[in-house]
Symmetry: C2
């Protein structure tokens, strides 16, 4: 199975009930990790970090911290999407190591100027990078004939403890991936395009 991007966008739906004990192949897992790793980040700082939770005991503990949602234990794969708030300051030259020396030096300088002393930006950048990666991961899952469920209804602090989240890191969401037990219901209430998409600016009184 190998959907085009447009097909995957159309077909992707969030599902909560997965076939238990359904195993992904190593190639499928690698494809899902590639979706994360090859996603773009500002200044190429690659601030996303991804924890694949395989241990059933950890899954059970996370489920307790996630309103007992069944996909946490039943999905084939549970990814916890995290980010390093200080990725920009961790040997940033390696993010540009294949670029000409002058470019790499310039980029490192720009990176430091952009993020230094701005904790709100470091946080927001983590969520942007995580979100972009999540979009790619879920489309990749669909193209592999799998379904997914992005989640943020859980105790972030408790899950952080369970996955040994390091200092200066935060969790953005989790994604459960596997084979859906049954097809998703119809979309429950898709808004019309005119409510979401605007030309040149939001509706407003003339200035």
């Amino acid at each position: 199975m190998s959907l085009t991007v447009a097909q995957a966008i159309e077909a992707r739906r969030s599902v909560k009930y997965f076939v238990r004990d359904y195993r992904l192949t190593a190639a499928e897992e690698a494809a899902l990790c590639d979706a994360a790793r090859l996603s773009p980040t500002a200044f190429n700082i690659q601030n996303g970090r991804y924890v694949l939770v395989r241990d059933p005991a950890i899954r059970a503990e996370i489920r307790k911290a996630a309103w007992d949602q069944p996909q946490v234990t039943d999905a084939s794969l549970l990814m916890v999407l995290c980010y390093d708030l200080r990725a920009w300051d961790r040997e940033p030259k390696r993010y540009w190591r294949n670029a000409p020396e002058a470019v790499a030096t310039q980029m490192v300088s720009e990176i430091r100027d952009f993020y230094r002393d701005d904790e709100e930006l470091q946080h927001d950048e983590g969520l942007r990078s995580s979100g972009i990666a999540a979009g790619a991961i879920m489309l990749q899952a669909k193209a592999l004939g799998l379904d997914s469920c992005a989640m943020d209804g859980f105790d972030f602090k408790r899950v952080g403890h369970l996955i040994h989240l390091p200092p200066d890191h935060e969790i953005s969401m989790m994604i459960a991936i596997g084979r859906a037990e049954q097809p998703a219901h119809d979309r429950p209430g898709l808004l019309p395009a005119d409510d979401l998409i605007f030309n040149d600016g939001f509706p407003h009184a003339e200035d």
Copy 2:
């Protein structure tokens, strides 16, 4: 042109120099908007808002507010990705209007309990939704034979003013989309998978 998801993930790169005056078809624009609109959001609150900036005069003003980066004016399409911080509170029943009445009522109650009085969560949810949509938009662009550049190096307040950003809304990023003037350089410094992806948890001393 119609890439599979895996092909688009592999081929997508950020580019900054676009062929000026290259026009997208209406079908291509619609496909890019669908990528945004069909992306998942928590509780289906559809909090993303998307401004397509077409007016060259507004583009020129945004470019001034974005370190004079050429893609702002030269790309075929400039999307400003925004979100409504209070989408959860704007007639939330419509997000579940096709669901059975009892389900819709339950969801509205859960939505209110989840977001009410939590401004940090409302903000973070906007960035998550925007990021997920951005991931889909950029892969859709690649599948259409186009290239893209996600940007957050600009004066958010000034751009908000230019697009008449309403109260309770924020900008997450911009994406420039069009035909690349030349192929992207090689990836400048992709980190090894072992630096980004972990099994069951981050490396740690035994508890």
